[in-house]
Each structure stands twice: as structure tokens, then as C-alpha cells.
């Protein structure tokens, strides 16, 4: 039997305790979301109290108007549509920049890359004006369109395609296939790992986006979870923290589930640039 390393075990216990403290904000939020308001701020704090129930969730999801169920649907729509378009655009553009030759290719790509550094503050007023002129202000499309043409997704796909050997593509050309056929039948099927990374990163950015809805949406029926949560407080008046914690948990849970399912791809995608 493998000997248990006592030092390693001790370190594990210490870090488990540190980890509990580190994640305490989440733990406190979830347990508070299940309690009535007068039981949240007891001291000494305890996880379980007398009158725990799902009442807060029932309120924020179904009884409040507009409900968080409604915000959930808005956010899901924006996220799924954005992910779909982002993948389609970045996989084709990424492939074009990586494997196809045309004049100005690298210069255009450099331009795309540079714009990744531009802070939202520079773009927000013009995008606000542009979306208003396009008649898209205060629609969910205002949250989708500006972000779908993501230079970052294109960058990730291009980096991935650069590692694909040219031989596969060349053999397709020798067979006389058109570039689109080669792309569709030979390239797309092998792009899965990079596509998974683009999916999970886009999902996270769109689901968690707060700055775009804050500026581009002002009708509460079109709020996303982040904006709905931030404005929920003003309606409820003084801190009804139990309800806020339930709403906050609702806003986080789908993202956390997706994260657990795709964490390998997400971590790979986010740490990728760091070891150039």
C-alpha cells in the first residue's frame, strides 16, 4: 500500500482550511440565499439556521416583475447566439489568416490584434451612438453584435490552425477540391479543441457581461442577469440581502456549471498566451 506522506497530508489540511476561507463569500451567499432576512447576520455565523427554504428563489425567479427567470432567458439568448456567431466567424477568419495566402493578410491580422488592447471606454460612446442610429439600442442584438466579431476568437483559432500540418490541406487541393470543401470536410472536424476553447471563453464573457447591458439597455424587460441583479437592489429598497443572494446565485450557477464541464478547455485557452 502506498505510504501516506504525513507532510503532504498536513499541507492538504491547511490548504483545505485556507480554501474554505477563500471561498467563504460563495458559501455565505448560498447559505444566506436559503434563509429569511433575520437569520443571515447572526453571530457567531453558522451555515444552517432554523427556517431555511427555497422561498427566496421562488420570489426572485417567479414572483418578482420582471422575474429573474426572464433575465435568465434574455442572458441565455444573448449568450447562445453570441457563441454561435463567434465560433462561425472566428473559425473561418482564423483559418483564412492561418492557411490561406492573400495580399495584406498579415497586416490586416496585426490591425485586428492591436484592437484587442482598446479599452471599452474608448468604444462605448461611439458604439452607443452607432447602435442607436441602427435602431438596435435597447435590443438584445446590441449586446450581441459589437462583440461577435471577436479578434480574440480569431486569434485563438489562427494560432491553433498554424499548428495543423499543411499536408492535409495540400492533399485536398491535389484532389481538386475547392477551398470551401477542404475547409468544411478536412479542417473543421479537427478544430474541435480550439472551438471548445472559443465556446467556453465567449460563453463566459457574454454571460458575465455587465458594461454592455448597462449602457445599451434601459428597458427592464430586456435586462440580462447582471443588469437585472444590479437594478434589483434599487427596487427592493434597503438591503434585502437574502433575496439579493438568491438572485446572485441564480446569476452565477449556469456559468459555474458550464465552467465545471469545460474547465480544461477554459484553463487551456486562458493560460495559452502566457508561455510564448
Amino acid at each position: 500500500m502506498k505510504k501516506i506522506d504525513k507532510k503532504k497530508l498536513l499541507l492538504t489540511i491547511i490548504f483545505a482550511f485556507i480554501g474554505f476561507l477563500y471561498l467563504y463569500p460563495f458559501i455565505w451567499a448560498v447559505f444566506s440565499s436559503l434563509k429569511p432576512l433575520n437569520e443571515i447576520y447572526e453571530f457567531p455565523p453558522r451555515l444552517f439556521s432554523e427556517h431555511m427554504s427555497l422561498d427566496n428563489y421562488r420570489y426572485v425567479l417567479f414572483e418578482q416583475t420582471p422575474s429573474f427567470m426572464h433575465y435568465l432567458l434574455n442572458t441565455t439568448f444573448v449568450t447562445l447566439v453570441s457563441v454561435t456567431f463567434s465560433v462561425l466567424i472566428s473559425i473561418t477568419a482564423g483559418y483564412g489568416f492561418a492557411k490561406l495566402k492573400f495580399k495584406g493578410r498579415d497586416a490586416i491580422f496585426m490591425l485586428l490584434l492591436v484592437t484587442m488592447m482598446i479599452p471599452f471606454q474608448v468604444l462605448m460612446i461611439p458604439q452607443f451612438v452607432l447602435l442607436t442610429k441602427m435602431g438596435l439600442y435597447n435590443t438584445l442584438w446590441a449586446l450581441i453584435l459589437p462583440t461577435v466579431f471577436t479578434p480574440l476568437g480569431t486569434f485563438l483559432m489562427r494560432q491553433y490552425f498554424l499548428t495543423v500540418p499543411d499536408s492535409i490541406i495540400e492533399s485536398g487541393r491535389i484532389d481538386g477540391a475547392s477551398e470551401f470543401t477542404i475547409f468544411k470536410n478536412l479542417v473543421v472536424p479537427i478544430a474541435k479543441p480550439a472551438v471548445a476553447t472559443v465556446i467556453i471563453l465567449t460563453f463566459m464573457w457574454r454571460w458575465n457581461d455587465y458594461e454592455s447591458p448597462l449602457i445599451f439597455i434601459n428597458d427592464s424587460a430586456k435586462y440580462t442577469l447582471t443588469l437585472g441583479l444590479s437594478n434589483f437592489v434599487d427596487e427592493a429598497g434597503v438591503a434585502k440581502d437574502n433575496l439579493i443572494m438568491a438572485a446572485a446565485t441564480v446569476s452565477m450557477i449556469p456559468m459555474i456549471i458550464v465552467y465545471f464541464v469545460l474547465q480544461k478547455q477554459m484553463i487551456a485557452g486562458l493560460t495559452q498566451g502566457s508561455n510564448k
Binding site: 466567424i89 492573400f102 468604444l123 479578434p151 447582471t226 459555474i256
Partner: protein, 288 residues
Amino acid sequence: MKKNNVGYLFVLPAVIGFSIFILLPMVFSLVISFTDFNIFKGISGTVFLGLDNYIRLIHDPIFWKSLFNNIIFIVVTVPIQIILALIVAYFLNDKLYGCKFFRVFSFLPYVSNIVAVSFIWMALFNPSQGVINQVLMHLGISNPPGWLTSFHSALPAVMIVSIWISLGYNVLVYIAGMQNIDSTMYEASEIDGANSFQKFMKITIPSLSSTTFFLTVTGIISSFKVFGQINIMTQGGPGNSTNVLAYYIYQNSFSYYDMGYAAAMAWVLMFIMIIVTVIQFRKEKGGA
């Protein structure tokens, strides 16, 4: 590989989209920074101001206060994040049982939306009822800080939240870097009798220098982007103690509707970010 103009078709959607939603707005933003444009006047009512907006911000004390807060933010949070992450990464890199479990959970703050995180921390920072002050008072500290409600403790509170959010990301990047270190270097040092601490200081840290550089640059850029937690937790207060450039630009755009002025400030912010990044790159090249 022969030239293939069909490549233009492949990149066309991305290029058109980015031209409309990024390039065009950039130009528009630059142009209005020289005017007094706002959404109500429209383009017809706009007056050309030349460099007035830029001169104005040089004399704007809140601009300088906000920039100063950004600098404090960087100088405090970036080193703390990096040192903490280095230490935690060391242990989470197979020095514990269940490392994968720890790593997966360490990332949770990073993937959670800023609004939810802000409200949770606001409740924890509540000066009278929140857990943090309750614990401090029980430990005998009779006058714990007012955190988000006090002029001197608000920015530290916001910085604590930022460090908490980013730690998981920094840890995971360091772990990826550590796993790239050649193990033969450690083995050779063991033959020379090196202990864990010496190995960490003499091999691990130097080998991670490019990772550290990367995290420094991304940490600085992220610091300039901090917005959501300020809009929710403090709105720049109390008394501008937590106002930062990103937030002040937002205030000028959508509270004061002084959009030309805000645009000028946004461009100044962008140039500051570029300069700081270039300085970091020069330092790295010089030291390497």
C-alpha cells in the same frame, strides 16, 4: 502555397464586423474628443473645440485623483497578486493531495460575474452586520474599518475584492509555467544538496520570469479596466476615494453627458495603458 484570393472571403465577415464596430467607433471617438458632442445635441449641434477637452482634463482635479487611484491600485494589487499566486501555485502544483480539486475551485471567483461578486462582498464588508467586522470586533478590535463606507478604507476594500477575483487566474498561469520547467534542473540541484526553499528561490522563480512578466502586464492592464465593482459598491466614493479613470469616464459619458470630454479622457487612458505596457517591455528586454 500559391496566393488564393478566396482567403478574402474567409476573413470578410470578421473584417467587416470589426471595421463597423471597432475601427469606425475608434475614429468617431477620436473626432468627438475635439468637440463638445453629446447624444442630445447630435452631430449638428456639436461645436469644434480643438484641444480644449485635453487642456481641461489637465486642470481637472478629479482626473488626477482618479489616475492617482489607478496607480495605487496597480502598485498595491499587482505585486500582492503575483507573490500570493506564486506561493499558492507552488503548493497547488502537486504538493497536496487533490491538487486538481483545489485548482478547479481556485478559479471560481474568476468565472463569476462581477455584479454578484460585488453584492456578496458588500454584504461581507457591511460595517455593522457583515462577517468581517463581526469577527474583528470579537477579536477585540473595537473600531473596525468602515470599509466601503469610509474614505480611507474604501479603496483597500475594492482592492481586496480585485485580488480575490484574479488570484485563481494568476495561480493557474503560474502552474502552467511551473510545469514547463525542466525537472533535470531540480534533480541536479538536489545532488548539490539544495533544500525546497533554495530550489524555489534559485530555480523556480528565475525560470518563471517570463510568466511573471506576462502576469505583471496583464495585471496592470486589468487594473486600468476595473469598473463594475466600483459602479456597484462605491460609485467612486466616498469623496472620490475610489474613483478611477474607467469609472470617471463613464460618469462623464452617461451621468454628465459630457461625451466629448469623456472621449478625450478615454484616449488619454488608452495612451497611458500603452505607455505603461511599453515601459514594461523595455524593462524586460533590458533585464533579460
